[in-house]
Subunit: 225 residues, 2 copies
DNA sequence: CCAAAAGTGTTCCGTCTACACCCATGG
DNA sequence: CCATGGGTGTAGACGGAACACTTTTGG
C-alpha cells in the first residue's frame, strides 16, 4: 500500500535560523562564518538538517539550542526556500525560522566557540546562498508581528525602561517615534506594568522599570504599537 | 567533499494547493475526494510531490496545472507543514500554496475528471491530515494581501462591476461594507478604470464594467481597500 | 408601475500627529 | 551648576464610519 510513495523522490530538508537580538539600540542578527563546504568561510545563517524523527519546528528548536543553549525561545516560521540550485552542493530545501532572544541571556563564550557574531541588520554583509532573502523576509514578518502582538519583550530583559522599549521599536521600524505619543499608547495597555524598581544605569535621574505581565495580557489581548 | 550531506536523511517533500475562487458572491475552495491510500475517500486539498529537478514554486505550478490546465496563475506560499505524523503513511513534509483563479476560466469537465468541487470556505468539511490548518492560514494570508495589494482581480473576470468587486471584498472580510465608502476608495485608485461597456446581466438598469489596468498601477502602486 | 440594483456627498467622530517645557541627579 | 535623559498634556489635522435618496429599466 505504501508503495505509492516510492514512486517519488526524497530531498534533503534543512532549517536556517534568523536570530534577532537588540543591543546598543540596534537590531542585530547572529551570523557566522560557514565552517563547512561548500561555501566555507562565507557569512551565513546558522542551520541544520531536519531529521526523520522530528517535526520541522523541533528541528528549528534543536538547531537554535545547539547554537545558544537556550530552550523555549520565541520562534516563527518564515517560509520554505526551494530553488533547485540554491545550495551549490546538493539539492537542499530549507525552511527559515526567525527567533527573538535577549542578548543578555546569551552566553558570550558561545560566540567564539561557534564563530558567530551579532551584526547590525542594516549592515548585513553578503550571505551564503539565499540567506539574505531569508533575512529580509524575516525582518518584514517580524516587523509586522511587533506591531500587532507583544513579542518585542522577547528581545528585552524582564525589566526594561520605556526608553529601551521605544528604542527597540525605533530600531525595528527604522524611524524615530514621538516619546509622548509612544508613552500614551503604553499607558493604554494594562499589561505593561510599572514596577517600583529604578534603573540607575542609563540616566542620572533614574528611569522606572516596567514589566510585561503575560497573565494580564491573556485576559484582554489588545496590543497595538 | 559532498559526503558531508550524506550523514543526513532525505525526506519526502510535497506541495498542497489551496485554490480560491469566487462565485455566487461566495469565496470558495477547490477540494476533492482523495483517490489514494492512506485516507482514500476523505476530503482533501489537491497536492503532489516535489521532484528533484524543480523548485518548490515550480512544483506548485505544475500541480496546479495538472488539476486546472492553467498556467501563470497567482500563487503564494503559505508555509511548510512538518509534523512527524501528519501523513499517516510515510513521513512527508508539505509546503502549502494558495492560488487565486477566476472560476469562469476553469474547465467544468475537469471538475468531474478530477473529482473536485467548489466548496464555500465557511462550510469547509473536515479535511485529510492537517489540510484544514493550511486552509485557515491561507485565508488569513490572503485576506491580508487583498487589503494591501491588488490581487482580488485574479478572482474576477477581466471586466467586472463595482458591485461584484464589493461582494468579493465582503466575502473575504466576512462582513458587509458600505457601498458609498467603498466606491469613494475605488475612485481614488486610477488603475481601476471605468469602461464604456455595460453589464446587463445582473441588473435591469445595467452597471458599468470596470477593468484593472496593471500598467497604470505599476506607475504608482497605491492600493488600499 | 413597481421591484431591484446602480449610482452619488456630507457630516460627525475618534484617532493620530505635532509639539515644548520642567524634573531629578551625578559629576 | 549644568549636562543628560526622564517624564508629562493639548490642540489641530486627518481619515474612517455612518447615513438616504434618486435613477433606470425589465417584466
Amino acid at each position: 500500500m505504501t508503495s505509492f510513495y516510492f514512486e517519488h523522490q526524497k530531498i534533503f530538508l534543512a532549517v536556517d535560523c534568523i536570530i534577532f537580538g537588540f543591543d546598543d539600540n540596534k537590531l542585530k542578527i547572529l551570523i557566522g562564518r560557514r565552517q563547512m563546504d561548500p561555501g566555507r568561510g562565507e557569512w551565513s545563517l546558522y542551520g541544520g538538517f531536519v531529521r526523520n524523527d522530528e517535526s520541522i519546528d523541533e528541528a528549528a528548536d534543536r538547531t537554535l539550542y545547539q547554537l545558544t543553549g537556550m530552550r523555549n525561545v520565541y520562534m516563527r516560521q518564515v517560509g520554505a526556500f526551494g530553488s533547485v540550485k540554491r545550495d551549490p552542493g546538493e539539492r537542499v530545501v530549507s525552511i527559515a525560522y526567525y527567533a527573538l532572544i535577549n542578548v543578555k541571556d546569551y552566553d558570550e563564550h558561545l560566540l567564539k566557540e561557534h564563530q558567530v557574531e551579532w551584526v547590525n541588520v542594516d549592515e548585513m554583509p553578503h550571505l551564503y546562498s539565499d540567506h539574505n532573502v531569508m533575512v529580509e523576509k524575516a525582518r518584514k514578518l517580524m516587523r509586522q508581528k511587533m506591531h500587532t502582538e507583544p513579542v518585542g519583550f522577547e528581545l528585552l530583559p524582564d525589566l526594561f525602561t520605556l526608553t529601551q522599549l521605544q528604542r527597540l521599536y525605533e530600531a525595528v521600524k527604522g524611524e524615530e517615534v514621538d516619546k509622548r505619543n509612544f508613552r500614551k499608547r503604553i499607558k493604554d495597555m494594562d499589561f505593561i506594568e510599572k514596577t517600583d524598581l529604578i534603573d540607575k544605569e542609563s540616566s542620572k535621574r533614574g528611569a522606572a522599570f516596567y514589566r510585561f505581565n503575560k497573565k494580564v495580557y491573556s485576559l484582554e489581548p489588545n496590543f497595538k504599537l
